[in-house]
Amino acid sequence: MSGRGRIVFSTTIMAVEFDGGVVIGADSRTTTGAYIANRVTDKLTFIHDHIFCCRSGSAADTQAIADVVNYQLSFHSIELDEPPLVQTAANLFKELCYRYREDLTAGIIVAGWDKRKGGQVYTVPMGGMIVRQSFSIGGSGSTYIYGYVDSSYKPGMTKEECLEFTANAISLAMERDGSSGGVIRLAAITEAGVERKVILGSELPRFTVS
């Protein structure tokens, strides 16, 4: 693909804020070249009770980073004797991704709920910057759905609307991106906890007839 510094990596990941929490979603395909090494991957990774991350890029790099942040955050939470903030988790990712930017291929979306700011989505793309957004898409499949999300997103959606928005978007990306596919894994994170859902291949939202 054109554009300086751009590396295409496999996946479609997404996260959306709503009042009271976040919805996160991802496809389930891991590829080595054109072979699908794992068709039921879980790219929504537990970081803390109310904080998850969506991983795109090198599977090894992102797993290693997530492991480190998981450790750092649980330690921090024990010291604080309080659930950690989403912004803290996101900044831990940023510190690693920025410091080791030349050695890593990792595009991460950190999403969760905390008492201070409610549902939050933070994007840490390759290069190691950090920015909070009301919704974020990532991975190679995301390029195919910028148009869809830009036209369909409305601020102030409910949890159910967010789930539908996310499922539709990821389904469209999976349709067009060879590096994304399998099932759609969704999760809704609120004060009450994490609700996980899987949408199997047969139940994917369908858009085209052919």
């Binding site: 693909m1 554009g3 300086r4 751009r6 910057m129 957004q133």
Partner: protein, 256 residues
Amino acid sequence: MEVCNRRMNLWANGPSPGELYSFPGSTSCVGVGPVKTTLNPMVTGTSVLGVKFNGGVMIAADMLGSYGSLARFRSISRLMKVNDCTILGASGDYADYQYLKQVIEQMVIDEELLGDGHHYSPKAMHSWLTRVMYNRRTRMNPLWNTVVLGGFYNGESFLGYVDKLGVAYESPSIATGFGAYLAQPLMREVMETKPDLSRDEARQLIERCLKVLYYRDARSYNKFEIATVTEGGVEIEGPFSSETNWDIAHMVSGFE
């Protein structure tokens, strides 16, 4: 002759003439892990414009973070307030700018804690930044940014430029990136005939330049911020958009 065939004892296990040689024991950063060379800017910002006027300085930048050609982040701020007399705008890698912002903000806090009433002057900040950028480039690990620094101190306006090579200078008008080609000539044309602009005239000049950049820079976005520093302090206004005129489209048809 024989000499050419013999290995010189002095160079045993060393490089052959003309070969690149990295000396053993070359330094890596102490203690905090491999911060290797930033050779690939990822999310980048385009032009930053700066202009001096009578009583202060104005800096402007759009709010786009480009990921190659993709307009990925459309609401990021590339301008920051350093202290009550200094503002800064950066183009180039946004992660490096965020790092610089963090360092500068901590510096300003530390200085405040000294409680001696002194604050970093714009010139001092510019000088410091130049040293930092040049040092990083010498270690082959640059901060991939071009920074425009504006300030108003002791009744005088300051406008400076520092880039990733450590090149630094001051000028009544500054533009980075595409702006250097498109906006700088416009700014210089106005300022050479009328060096002392009023605040409104400076604002109009900047907005005119931003419009041209939106027309002609493929990595720009029609959403920008303007930071102004005067005797009264710092004001960062935005987001604004330019009015664009596409009437000429009706005058063109086909390609001949």
